[in-house]
């Protein structure tokens, strides 16, 4: 009885008693959801265009961040490091397409998934061989002190991250809508065979998609690296993006954003107000449970493509 009341009544009482605090938690959660969405975007791009679930996205985030921070530590200016890292990611995408994707064309999705796991191992080892395993501080000039707006504590860094993510999504949307390459990508995402039949070269498209995913990974790596320091654990961020993907649907960019917001806010509110009752540290599984509940009502995610099965 007490537990029931503790779960169903008291948290709401606590929320009602301290509405400002609740809004702080909510806003903090939404903003951290945006950070998750940044990572989820990379997954969505690749899955949309090539049907491959890229387990290596986390490793790519780390790989890009390592190069970026490595160049900065060598003394190069930020703009130069950025450009050279983008070049590195382009090379990486080309290499992956040539070495991994082309020989495995037409295989089961699970085989391609396993291949991306091989890529993960390889990138993990390669990145650390080149740059070492130390923690590196990444400072790109974003202020980190808290802001106080209308009596609410808001983290300035997170606001910058949200703005950057918004710009990135806007850029991607423009790219997909208004450039020929973007349209070709959408065509490939719709139907590989049809796209090939009108002359769109799949290999080139896949290389482009992986490059774009790599650049998205770079942005995610810079933001998360500035938040946590660039280190091996950065690759674990990918696990945080998975519930976002399920919720939003694997194939939808707006789904990634919305999913990120819901998961971020839900996670934080649950941890703060329901966490005590359940013993704390529920953030780990709460996101997955939330996503699973959504899935029961919409098995393809909120914005995902409806899976039509034919016999």
């Amino acid at each position: 009885m007490e537990t029931l009341s503790a779960v169903l009544v008291e948290p709401f009482v606590a929320i009602a008693e301290a509405p400002m605090f609740f809004f702080e938690v909510l806003i903090g959660g939404l903003l951290s959801g945006v950070m998750y969405a940044l990572v989820a975007l990379g997954f969505v791009l690749i899955f949309k265009a090539s049907g491959v679930f890229n387990f290596a996205q986390g490793a790519m985030v780390l790989f890009a961040a390592l190069f970026f921070v490595g160049f900065i530590d060598l003394g190069w200016p930020i703009w130069l490091s950025l450009i050279v890292t983008i070049l590195v990611m382009i090379l990486l995408a080309l290499a992956i397409e040539r070495v991994v994707l082309r020989p495995l064309v037409n295989q089961d999705p699970i085989i391609l998934f396993m291949a991306t796991i091989g890529i993960t191992f390889f990138l993990d080892g390669f990145g650390q061989t080149l740059w070492g395993s130390d923690v590196r501080r990444l400072d790109i000039g974003i202020p980190e002190d808290p802001l106080i707006i209308a009596g609410l504590y808001i983290n300035q860094f997170d606001i910058y991250a949200a703005v950057i993510c918004g710009l990135l999504v806007l850029g991607l949307a423009l790219f997909f809508q208004y450039t020929p390459t973007g349209r070709a990508l959408r065509a490939v995402a719709d139907d590989h065979q049809a796209a090939m039949s009108i002359g769109i070269p799949l290999n080139v498209i896949w290389a482009i998609v992986w490059t774009v995913a790599g650049i998205v990974g770079l942005v995610a790596g810079i933001m998360w690296g500035a938040k946590l320091g660039v280190q091996f654990n950065l690759a674990l961020i990918a696990l945080k993006a998975l519930p976002v993907l399920i919720l939003g649907g694997f194939t939808s960019v707006p789904g990634a954003i919305v999913g990120g917001l819901i998961i971020g806010a839900g996670e934080k509110v649950a941890e703060v107000f329901w966490g005590e009752v359940l013993g704390g540290a529920i953030e780990d599984w709460f996101a997955y449970m939330l996503a699973m509940v959504f899935l029961l009502f919409r098995p393809q995610g909120l914005f995902g493509e409806k899976i039509i099965e034919r016999v």
Partner: protein, 440 residues
Amino acid sequence: MVNRRQTLGLAAGAIAFGAMPLRLYAQENAQFIPSLVYRTGPYGPNGEPFANGAADYYTLINERDGGINGVEIVFEECDTQYNNDKGVECYERLKNKGPTGAAAFSPLSTGITYALIERARADKIPIFSMGYGRTDASYGPVFPHVFTAPATYWSQATSLIQYVAAQEGGLEALKGKKIALVYHDSAYGKEPIRTLEALSEMFGYKLSLFPVAHPGLEQKATWLKVGRQVRPDWVLMWGWGVMNSTAIKEAAAVGFPMERFIGNWWSGSENDVMPAGDTAVGYKSANFHGAGATWPVHQDIFKHVYDAGKGAGKRERVGEVLYNRGVTNAMIVVEAIRTAQEIHGNKPLTGWQVRDGFENLNLSAERLAELGLADFMQPIRLSCEDHEGGGSVYVQQWDGKEWKRVSDWIPPMRDVVWPMIKESALAYAKEKGITPRSCA
């Protein structure tokens, strides 16, 4: 087709070759010391300076002194990546190496320590879990082969509470104060909880517990609760790796005063404060040895190891907190072997003989000064019953460039902690069917 087969065959051959036994040790008069470290993996950044410190100290003993009383040290590192299985694999591979087997194992991870305790008991090799592992293994009669010098988590908890009390104006001033523990949700993080709860009953402070799910990348919710809802007077942290730096950043983000934020000795290294930059200034942590490269032993390391080109890491990182911890670990092992040699003779010793050395270890202040480590750490004296030996820590504070001592050595509340250790150890013995040996 043929090419593919040939390549496969070559690959198979290479792998089979790799399974062959490793090169055997030619030295007959060498003491083998295994070094379980993690230079890679999720805690690699923390494990690397530790490994360097230990390696440099062993090299120093060989280069400067010609070994321990003439017996050369042969040490071999094995990368466990903080993974229990790899730790067990490293242990099994290294335990019989060298002319007399491994001297002692320092697993550097609570999980691996738990996995190795029973194996080492059967194999008769001592485990030296310096400041981690099972706290109740300090009770010698039940754990004759495990040594937890110079301090354990339960002792540290009592020392930290004493520090907080001193800042508040005495133990009586603790009444009604709010103390929070932010801890890694694992065996390691849960260690101090019972002690802190016992002390909260004794002194009347309110303890709030905030577990952080492994690995601790996301702590925004936790710190919103701590900083904006609960608003404790003091926060203690039991974290490791990325959890530490994230916590410091999140604490700064909610405006929690750094001077009231004290981490344990695994939450107070340069790796933890560096990602947070300036916001980490004022953060405190406990430590049981000195920080910085200002002791005579460091000068020796520069002279005999780095100038001779045998340094394990970078010269600039000598003296970091975790580097010095590696030096401490290696130093205690060497002194234990030296003590064992006084009992058993100046020759390579077996694990069980080294254990005798640990149990009779008497690291006095004079001896520390001889080693070039005056006031680096508190003297340790172990005995058959007491495998912890001292328990004192001091509190240090980060000023943006280095760690400065802000307190004296704080001894633990032995009268509170020792009965708990004994009780827990005896319960373990009962569960496992071990008869405690007598220490008469």
